[in-house]
């Protein structure tokens, strides 16, 4: 079943096993529920009283012992169903655990902020560590170890197509793992109430072939090139001389603040504002002009740049592929 975006739209081992268990529970629940309804229905149809203060029912010892027997059977059946349930759950739990002999897992450190995501890819060579924001690429078929940290409050990392969620708790170092078994593009989201914009704290997940992943990784590691176009150069100056530089990083430039998402390759992202808007020029312009209209309470302030400056800035940002 591919109900897109749901827990049944599985693309990885753990999600697949969980979905299977879920289906099993659905079937068990429906059957149990119908049995209960039938029993209640039959009970309701028997010997209905006609008057309000009807004579009391006379139940002899035979009825009482028969009822005791039937209830005992029902209680034992319930217990057996629950035993099956606990066993199935335990087996699924073991099956979705981190594969301890995984070869060459990829390790990604996820830091939750109010209200955006920071991803740091670890590599054996420290200078190859990659920091990016709000967009997660993973190679198909390779297990990914995810380390979960928080910068402020509790968030929750959840890609329904790949695995259940795990919380990012400040002061704790939580871990989970994911593995995509097929390529795809999915929207993941924060799943623990974290303040005003918990509702709009999503990120894009792109699973692609290992070759394409490596291509993406290498391009992300490159710094931004100085712009050649005059409008983009003016936009670069706007960025460095106005509010942008206080919070954002563009590697290869003077901008090195890690308060907000890093923007070195902003133009290559599918979405902006933590998965809230599609990455188009118009959306980016609206967002920069007044983020508070789109995500009230977000940390980024309104920026009343004059139109010429804004156009130049957008031209510059479009060069950051």
């Amino acid at each position: 079943m591919t109900w897109a975006g749901s827990i049944f739209d599985t693309a990885g081992g753990p999600a697949e096993r969980i979905a299977r268990l879920t289906w099993f529970l659905i079937i068990v629940s429906v059957v149990t529920y119908l049995l209960l309804l039938v029993a209640t229905g039959i009970a309701m149809r028997r010997a209905r009283a006609r008057r309000l203060r009807e004579q009391l029912a006379d139940t002899g010892p035979d009825t009482e012992s028969r009822l005791t027997r039937n209830i005992s059977i029902a209680a034992i059946a319930t217990t057996l169903i629950l035993l099956v349930y606990v066993t199935a759950t335990a087996r699924t739990g073991k099956a979705i655990a981190w594969p301890v002999n995984a070869r060459q897992p990829l390790t990604i450190e996820v830091t939750g902020h109010q209200w955006w995501w920071q991803f740091r890819y670890r590599d054996s060579v420290p200078s190859n560590w990659l920091t990016t924001s709000n967009e997660l690429h993973i190679p198909v078929g390779r297990p990914v170890r995810v380390i979960l940290l928080s910068n402020d409050v509790i968030h929750s990392f959840w890609i329904p197509e790949l695995h259940g969620k795990q919380d990012l708790i400040p002061g704790h170092r939580n871990t989970t793992w994911i593995q995509a078994d097929r390529p795809g593009v999915w929207k993941a989201r924060c799943a623990e109430f974290c303040g005003h914009q918990h509702a709009k704290m999503a990120f894009d997940v792109v699973a692609e072939s290992p070759a394409r992943f490596n291509q993406w990784y290498v391009s992300q590691l490159t710094s931004a090139q100085p712009p050649t176009d005059s409008s983009a150069r003016r936009g670069h100056d706007v960025f460095m001389q106005r509010t942008c530089i206080m919070c954002h990083t563009i590697s290869g430039t003077q901008a090195g603040s890690s308060v907000g998402p890093e923007l070195t390759h902003i133009a290559s992202r599918p979405s902006i504002a933590a998965g809230t808007l599609r990455n188009t020029r118009e959306n980016l312009g609206r967002w920069i002009l007044n983020p508070q209209l789109i995500k009230p309470g977000v940390r980024m302030p309104p920026n009343a740049f004059p139109p010429a400056d804004m156009n130049a800035l957008l031209d510059y940002l479009e060069t950051l592929k």
Binding site: Y33, A43, H172
Partner: protein, 646 residues
């Protein structure tokens, strides 16, 4: 074998005015004072319980309005009806109101009204404490809503996770007001629990040994013990949070040795039993209704009592199932899966016993019984969806999604509100002396039953579809709009159903047909007294010979005599077998509980803003408690004791 109520002279239906009659004297001694002062000084358990029930209904209505606003906002994607700040306040106050200001006070008030009558006594064990508990509850509720109306409504969620609720990420006094509201309501809940336990253990009618106590009373006793154990945890946790915010303690600050997870453990250790605290009284109400409307005592009395007690115990071992997504060890989490599954067994046994009762009885489906069937239908969906959540792997997908509101509302509405509304229709005649309209009752039942399903089943689906909870809006391209709209329409149905119920209550109060003492032919002692019961409940304390007090095969009920009629006095009996033990004098109406509650209010509310409030307010409370405990002058005998033949 039919129910035989006490003869009229035992129920106070003969002329109550004459001071020469027993009833006249008792009425004179036990009535409330006149006017506003009488209302403020009352220590009568029925007066206090009734006003508490009405207060709880008022909070229910307020929380319902908040829910309606939330559903209106979520009906369409990216709706601009309500912004994130206001929405966060709405869902926090909705949850806090329903859990702390409606559910627990409501079931405790129903207990405080009916348990003394059902066990054959005149008042609860500590009448002034009862009044104090109500006033403290009222002040706490007013505090929360005064805050909401001044933009200071808490906005961190009713579960108030730190660090979001901590001093760094929740500026202002919103969270502090929430934490202090908890303190008020916990005091009130613990007070009510103490009342129920001591009253049931010490003041039962002679002959009502523990194995003859009505199932409703058993449920209330179990629930009260649970309150005593669970409530101190949340009161402690909220106090720790308030201290972190006000005087810079480090309980939840990881950088100084504290832990954010500590809050979750403390809170859920309380909050999971809390939902069973809310649910178990519902079980008691269902037992009462099923017996009366199946025309036979509930099948499996011992099984149900043992199941209720075991639910009470087991519920304390489940709390980690709210924390499966946190970094707790896997093996430990699996234990909680098994425990959460285990609690389904006694719950199931209880439901099977009721079905057996209906099956072997002569059932009649008036409105109270309809609500019982509705309870079985809805609560089971809630319970089965709970099984999804207690399995760790499935929980990791479904927790913190809309599956949760779907689950909790099925169990809360199905497991508590439906039994409550059934009990409302069942006991309304006893409280007011008038019958409710059957026609309107059935209309509101069906509207509510359909409404619950249309509102909350789509939410179960939305959770599976990936929609997180506690979100003020969602994007249009998620495709969640259709299910959300359906859910909001269902909320509209619920609102209409509740409106019909309110109309039913209002019309029945004004002009419902008179009820008489025992319109349903019930088995428990409350049906032996007039409707409404006199202030003193029983002119003569009855003697009980079997489980179904009024269905026993004897003639008229025996009664004891000898309690004073010139001052307030109750009979105390032994704990196990309820043999008469001693007589105990009860206090007259007094303003001191209100003063003590006001002093407590000053202490706690001032303490939100400045620690000096605890010192000054504490001194005031000390004075009030001094007045409370001040030795009374012994009263002279005003009448001769008259021995009345049985």
């Amino acid at each position: 074998m039919s129910a035989r109520p006490l003869p009229a002279e035992h129920t106070g239906e003969s002329d109550p005015k004459s001071i020469e009659s027993v009833h006249g004297r008792l009425e004179h001694v036990w009535r409330n004072g006149p006017g506003l002062w009488g209302w403020l000084t009352s220590v009568n358990h029925k007066s206090i319980a009734l006003r508490s029930i009405i207060t709880a209904f008022a909070f229910f209505a307020l929380a319902g309005v908040e829910a309606a606003l939330m559903r209106a906002q979520l009906a369409r994607p990216e709706s601009s009806l309500i912004g994130p700040d206001r929405y966060n306040q709405l869902f926090t106050v909705h949850g806090s109101t329903m859990m702390f200001l409606f559910a627990v006070p409501m079931v405790q008030s129903v207990a405080l009204y009916f348990v003394p009558i059902m066990i054959g006594t005149r008042n609860v064990a500590f009448p002034r404490l009862n009044a104090f508990g109500y006033w403290v509850y009222l002040i706490g509720g007013v505090l929360l809503y005064a805050a909401l109306f001044t933009n200071t409504g808490p906005d961190q969620g009713w579960f108030s996770y730190v660090p979001l609720a901590g001093p760094e990420f929740s500026p202002g006094k919103r969270v502090d007001i929430w934490a202090q509201m908890i303190t008020f309501t916990e005091i009130a809940a613990i007070v009510a629990a103490i009342e129920v336990i001591v009253t049931v253990f010490k003041q039962r009618a002679p002959g009502m040994s523990l194995n003859r106590v009505p199932l409703f009373v058993w449920a209330m006793v179990v629930m009260s013990f649970m309150v005593l154990v669970a409530m101190p945890y949340v009161a402690t946790a909220s106090m720790m949070l308030a201290m972190d915010r006000l005087i810079a303690t480090q309980f939840f600050n990881y950088a100084e040795g504290g832990d954010a997870l500590l809050w979750q453990h403390l809170f859920w250790f309380f909050a999971h039993p809390e939902v069973y605290i809310i649910f178990i009284p519902g079980l008691g109400m269902v037992s009462s209704i099923v017996a009366t409307f199946s025309r036979r005592p509930v099948f499996g009395y011992t099984a149900i009592v043992l199941s209720t007690v075991s639910i009470g115990f087991l519920s304390f071992g489940l709390w980690v199932h709210h924390m499966f997504a946190t970094p707790l060890p896997q093996t430990g989490q699996s234990f909680f899966t098994a425990a959460s599954a285990m609690i389904a067994i006694p719950t199931g046994v209880t439901i099977f016993c009721w079905i057996a009762t209906i099956w072997s009885g002569r059932p009649r489906f008036d409105t109270p019984m309809l609500y019982v069937v509705g309870f079985i239908a809805l609560f089971t969906i809630g319970g089965l969806s709970g099984l999804f959540l207690s399995a760790v792997p499935v929980d990791l997908q479904l927790t913190d999604t809309f599956f949760l509101p779907g689950h909790i509302h099925y169990v809360l509405l199905g497991g508590m509100v439906f039994p409550l509304f059934g009990a409302l229709h069942y006991w309304f005649p006893k409280v007011t002396g008038r019958m409710m309209s059957e026609r309107l009752g059935k209309v509101s039942f069906w509207l509510l039953f359909v409404g619950v399903n249309v509102t909350f089943f789509p939410q179960l689906l939305l959770g599976a579809a990936g929609m997180p909870r506690r979100v003020y809006t969602y994007l249009a391209d998620t495709g969640w709009g259709g299910l959300n709209l359906t859910s909001s329409i269902g909320a509209g149905l619920l609102a209409v159903g509740l409106l019909v119920l309110v109309v039913n209550i209002a019309r029945s109060l004004a002009a419902g047909p008179p009820a008489g003492a025992d319109p349903w032919g019930g088995e428990t002692l409350e049906w032996a007294v007039s409707s409404p019961a006199p202030d003193y409940n029983f002119a003569y304390i009855p003697i009980v010979h079997g489980r179904s007090a009024l269905w026993a095969d004897t003639g008229d009920l025996d009664a004891v005599s000898g309690l004073r009629e010139d001052r307030r006095e109750v009979l105390q009996t032994t704990m196990l077998d309820a043999e008469p033990d001693s007589r105990h004098e009860h206090p007259d109406p007094t303003i001191v509980p209100l003063l003590a509650a006001l002093a407590t209010g000053v202490t706690l509310i001032w303490g939100i803003f400045d620690p000096i409030g605890f010192a000054v307010g504490g001194a005031l409370t000390f004075l009030a408690l001094g007045a409370w405990g001040w030795p009374q002058k012994t009263k002279p005998n005003t009448h001769e004791i008259v021995e009345v033949p049985k």
